[in-house]
């Protein structure tokens, strides 16, 4: 568990960070370091330079402004799951509580997790379901990428070399919406064997006006269960009917590994999707 040699820089501003990053080929951004440092120690990754975002003032802020919840790229899991501005969006607290352990939650960051794009990380599902958007900064300027365009392939996000994720934002909660997250933890790593995040807008009657379902842990890339969303929109479904819909998510192309077979993942996806949707609808009906 000894990494190869690397240089380290801790810039005080985003501009300086961008400059350092573009100045060294292969340089990597260090957020909380919860994935990058172990990867370096296991020599699964190497970088000539690590650019630490930890000393950039304001990058860890969480605030409601312009109708959006804005989460700084350096905000920790613990900050996200306990912030009052996010309290009514239960998926944040629920995902946070199921994520790793207190030590990791106090160091690791939501932004870093998204950029790392681990297929079994928790935040990608929440990011997808809650309609998030990432702000990426580089020497060339700033661009925004919607959650739906963010995850490209296994462990690969839309973040290009030289770019830093400076902010993640979500639409502020509106009436009659509810969110929820649930997962089955892999016993060793704590990552998701299946993780499902749901955002729903529902009538008091339970009729679903709109819904988004984000899934992690199942495919090699986190995804939106759009086929399920389409079948649910405009309907009031629960119980066995909902189970039946959830058992037929067309986008599912499950992985198989030491910890769970593809068949089990597919089955769990149906169970967890239904349970999470029901919880989110109940919340929407009360909101």
């Amino acid at each position: 568990m000894i990494p190869a040699e690397f240089d380290y820089a801790a810039p005080r501003s985003l501009d300086e960070a961008v400059r350092l990053l573009s100045g060294t080929e292969g340089a990597k951004v260090l957020g909380g370091g919860m994935s990058l440092i172990p990867a370096l120690k296991h020599r699964l990754s190497a970088a000539p330079l690590l650019v630490d975002l930890g000393r950039i003032a304001g990058l860890d802020q969480i605030a409601l402004s312009g109708g959006r919840i804005r989460i700084g790229g350096r905000a920790t899991h613990a900050a996200v799951m306990t912030h009052p501005a996010l309290a009514s969006m239960h998926a944040f607290a629920e995902a946070g509580e199921l994520l790793a352990d207190p030590q990791v939650r106090n160091r690791g960051t939501l932004g870093g997790s998204l950029v790392h794009a681990d297929p079994a990380a928790d935040w990608p599902a929440v990011f997808l379901a809650l309609g998030g958007e990432a702000t990426l900064v580089s020497a060339k300027g700033t661009r925004n990428v919607a959650a739906d365009d963010f995850f490209e392939s296994l462990m690969t996000s839309a973040v290009q070399e030289g770019e830093i994720l400076s902010e993640v934002s979500f639409p502020a909660p509106t009436p009659r919406t509810g969110t929820a997250y649930s997962k089955l933890r892999q016993l060793a790593s704590g990552f998701a064997i299946v993780g499902v995040a749901v955002w729903v807008r529902a009538e008091r009657t339970g009729v679903i006006d709109d819904v988004r379902v984000g899934v992690t842990g199942v495919n090699s890339v986190p995804f939106r269960a759009r086929s399920l969303e389409d079948r649910l929109r405009g309907k009031a479904v629960s119980g066995p009917a909902l189970r039946a819909f959830c058992a037929e998510i067309a986008e599912a192309d499950p992985m198989s590994d030491l910890h769970a077979s593809a068949e089990y993942r597919r089955h769990l996806l149906g169970v967890f999707a239904a349970r999470t949707i029901e919880r989110a609808i109940a919340r929407a009906q009360q909101a």
Binding site: I2, A4, H42, L187, A188, S189, S261, L268
Partner: protein, 779 residues
């Protein structure tokens, strides 16, 4: 006035903890020496194969690399990796310190790089080119016994290291006469001990004094000294082994490993101190594993559910080589096969088998958890066959009160016990009747709910050295030396070198009480072969039973001399001196002397004691005359999510009997840790190799350790049946939790699944496995 003991029996906080939790303790990796070099091992990527080439050219080119060694450098200069349990008739090939032309498991050390720091050493180790012509490996222990299986050692012609058919003359007759029989195939999966601190070694050969000092994270510093001496041909009197702070062991640090012999050789060769601290992946891949038994267990019973006889076959994984005690571990599975029950005959056929995997050795319980698992599963199976309640069948089979010492058909002699009282207390604490009502109500609502039970005993404090214990070529005694200063302060030197048990606290309580002195006036020293001249170590729940008894004996010797000195000072005869909690007085007289008064006199401060040598000290060694048998009953309740197979442990209750307890706080800690470790095996832990012998569980991303969030508060209580085999009446506690908790939760899960007609599940109880069983039953 008779003073009551003031410390023994009290929940005194561990005196070790302040330095540990404040980061002020010295572990092996904290040892820093002038000119220290660092070692990094190059380990085999293949489980089986011939080494074609080892090229260290590029590695040696790294600035800061001092040397690279492979087997060719050692040839003829060193012995083999130690094994002290080569059983009679065992097929055995000595295991080299570095691979000798062949590799036999993934992770086997092939070469070692020595550099100025650990970073350079690791960088260079990655540049040692090792070319291996790989062969087909055999990983599965049953497949290894098939004709035509790849052989771990071609020259042996078989993977069967040793076959131990242990037959009882009455078994076959009892089976023939039985009302019925059950037969179960039980897998006790291979697990990794995972101490918090991995193994680490610092070796320092000094050419001037011709002295070798080795710091190593071990449970057995004296045995390690002996094994280094044998392996390297250095006289023991030139070797000092220090086990500084040791961060857990669980049996994994009983063996002396190849690295512990190799680093001293390197230090001597380079005339520089050298350090190695394993990585977590090295610990998971190349430090001994535990368990790894596949057993067929048959029980014959009468119409009342009394088990008459057992017939078992165990295939035990030895791994790629015989670790220190590895081959002997399965013999305990036979010795304890009958558990706490009046079974008349036990026959057990044991095959110890080589595979292309890391070696197995003692792991918390070492053969006894496997035995308890076998008999408890069989007991539940017989209960199910006869429609008997699982508590009721145990009541019918438990060895009756008043039958002790009890000789089991395996030859084991159980020292003392009152199983019925322990069971009754457990039933009340758990509220068994209430738990049954709650379970049945949950079932009526369509839920999967179960109750688990295990009644068990085990074997602790092995002895005597000449006895039935496996031929470990080591004594099972323990030593203690007490040195009393003129002020009455006492240094206790114990050979029972701890690795987290709390001897510094428990032994200080005992000695403080014996002499009526404050606990802060007692210093317990351990883990240094120059300070503690002889010793064996801490394993097999022997720290208090054997090591503590030696301390007690040494204290009695000191007291005897102190009494003679007091008689002289009090101007009376020895017989008329009364000693109570360190206060010496004449029977019927008013004059009193404290222990400090006597200690100062013993050092001839102003007085001469006729007929006595100056000083006050004593050495004692306790040789057990037999083994102790702690026992207990564990209960739990579980629920299983029908849709996902997820298991939830809802309640866990234990009532244990370990005889007299010196410190209930330490005892609770030992039990709690043991219970969680046993539940860890049952619920999630599993070492997995793929078919080619690659370790798939080489990091904590894949090797699942139990986590606090998986468990409810563990409810603990005790009964007390002192052991007659030692003056403390202690029975041993370190492994007990691990022995009862594993079968207990499996019993609960099978109970939960029984309404579906499911009668068997193997560990670990992972959700997909349970879901598949539920799905299968639904079809």
């Amino acid at each position: 006035m008779a003073l009551k003991p003031v410390m023994v029996g009290e929940r005194i906080k561990r005196r070790e903890d302040p330095r540990l939790i404040r980061g002020m303790a010295t572990y092996t990796d904290d040892v820093k020496l002038h000119g220290l070099l660092h070692a990094a091992f190059v380990r085999s990527d293949h489980a089986a194969g011939r080494i074609v080439k080892i090229d260290a050219t590029r590695a040696k080119a790294h600035p800061g690399v001092v040397a690279v060694f492979s087997f060719d450098d050692l040839r003829g200069q060193v012995g083999a990796s130690p094994c002290t349990a080569i059983l009679p008739g065992m097929k055995h090939v000595p295991h080299p310190l570095l691979a000798d032309g062949e590799v036999r498991y993934a992770g086997q050390p092939v070469a070692v790089v020595i550099a100025k720091d650990k970073y350079v050493a690791r960088d260079a180790a990655l540049d040692v080119e090792v070319e291996i012509d790989s062969r087909q490996a055999v990983v599965d222990v049953e497949a290894a016994l098939q004709a035509g299986a790849p052989l771990v050692y071609e020259q042996l012609g078989t993977n069967l290291a040793v076959h131990l058919p242990i037959a009882h003359p009455e078994t076959e007759r009892l089976f023939a006469e039985a009302h019925g029989t059950v037969s179960l195939r039980l897998v006790n999966q291979r697990v990794a001990p995972v101490p918090m601190e991995g193994r680490a070694v610092v070796a320092h050969w000094e050419d001037g004094p011709q002295q070798l000092t080795v710091w190593t994270s071990t449970q057995t510093p004296h045995g390690c000294k002996q094994q280094i001496a044998i392996c390297l041909g250095i006289p023991e009197l030139r070797i000092r082994v220090i086990a500084p702070e040791v961060g857990g062991g669980f049996g994994q640090k009983i063996p002396t490993y190849g690295e512990e012999c190799l680093l001293p050789w390197i230090s001597k060769k380079l005339r520089r101190p050298v350090k190695w601290a394993e990585t977590r992946t090295e610990n998971l891949a190349a430090s001994a594993h535990g368990r790894g038994h596949v057993s067929q267990v048959e029980a014959a019973y009468d119409k009342d559910g009394k088990i008459l006889a057992l017939r078992g076959q165990t295939i035990a994984e030895l791994g790629a080589y015989a670790s220190m005690l590895g081959p002997a571990i399965p013999t305990f599975t036979h010795l304890l096969a009958a558990g706490p029950y009046t079974i008349q005959a036990v026959s057990w056929d044991i095959k110890v088998v080589y595979t292309h995997t890391m070696a197995t050795d003692a792991y918390r319980g070492a053969g006894r958890p496997e035995a308890a698992y076998n008999i408890e599963r069989a007991m539940d199976a017989v209960a199910a066959k006869l429609g008997l309640d699982r508590v009721e069948i145990r009541k019918r089979n438990l060895i009756p009160v008043g039958s002790f010492p009890y000789q089991a058909p395996t030859g084991a002699i159980y020292d003392s016990g009152n199983y019925q009282a322990c069971l009754e207390k457990g039933l009340a604490k758990f509220d068994y009747a209430g738990a049954v009502v709650a379970r049945d109500r949950a079932r009526a609502e369509g839920k999967l709910a179960g109750i688990g039970i295990a009644t068990f005993t085990e074997i602790c404090g092995l002895g005597p050295s000449t006895g039935t214990a496996p031929p470990a070529r080591a004594g099972t005694w323990e030593s203690a030396e007490l040195r009393v200063e003129p002020t009455g302060a006492v240094t206790v030197m114990t050979g029972a070198s701890p690795h987290g048990q709390g001897q510094e606290t428990a032994f200080a309580q005992m000695v403080g009480d014996a002499f009526g002195i404050d606990i802060d006036n007692v210093n317990v020293v351990h883990g240094d072969t120059d300070r503690v001249t002889h010793g064996v170590g801490t394993f097999g729940s022997r720290g208090l039973v054997v090591g503590g008894t030696a301390v007690h004996m040494a204290a009695q010797k000191v007291l005897a001399k102190a009494k003679r000195i007091a008689a002289h000072l009090l101007d009376t005869t020895e017989e008329r001196v009364n000693v109570e909690s360190g206060v010496f007085s004449v029977v019927g007289g008013a004059r009193k002397l404290t222990f400090a008064d006597v200690a100062s006199a013993a050092h001839t401060w102003g007085v001469a004691i006729p007929g006595e040598e100056p000083g006050l000290e004593a050495v004692a060694r306790f040789e057990p005359t037999g083994t102790t048998f702690p026992f207990g009953v564990h209960f739990c309740t579980v629920s299983i999510d029908k849709e996902t197979g997820q298991l939830a442990l809802e309640r866990f209750v234990c009532v244990d009997d370990v005889g007299n307890i010196i410190n209930p706080l330490l005892a609770d800690g030992q039990r709690l840790g043991g219970i969680i470790q046993g539940l860890g095996q049952a619920m999630c832990e599993e070492v997995r190799y793929d078919e080619s012998g690659q370790l798939m569980t080489a990091t904590f991303m894949d090797y699942a350790m139990p986590r606090a969030a998986m468990f409810p508060r563990i409810e603990m209580d005790s009964t007390c049946t002192p052991s007659p085999l030692n003056p403390l009446g202690a029975k041993g506690i370190g492994e007990l939790g691990t022995i009862g908790s594993t079968p207990c939760i499996v019993s609960a899960v099978i109970d939960a699944l029984s309404p579906l007609g499911i009668t068997h599940v193997d560990m670990p109880l992972k959700s997909e496995k349970l879901w598949r069983l539920i799905q299968g039953a639904a079809r």
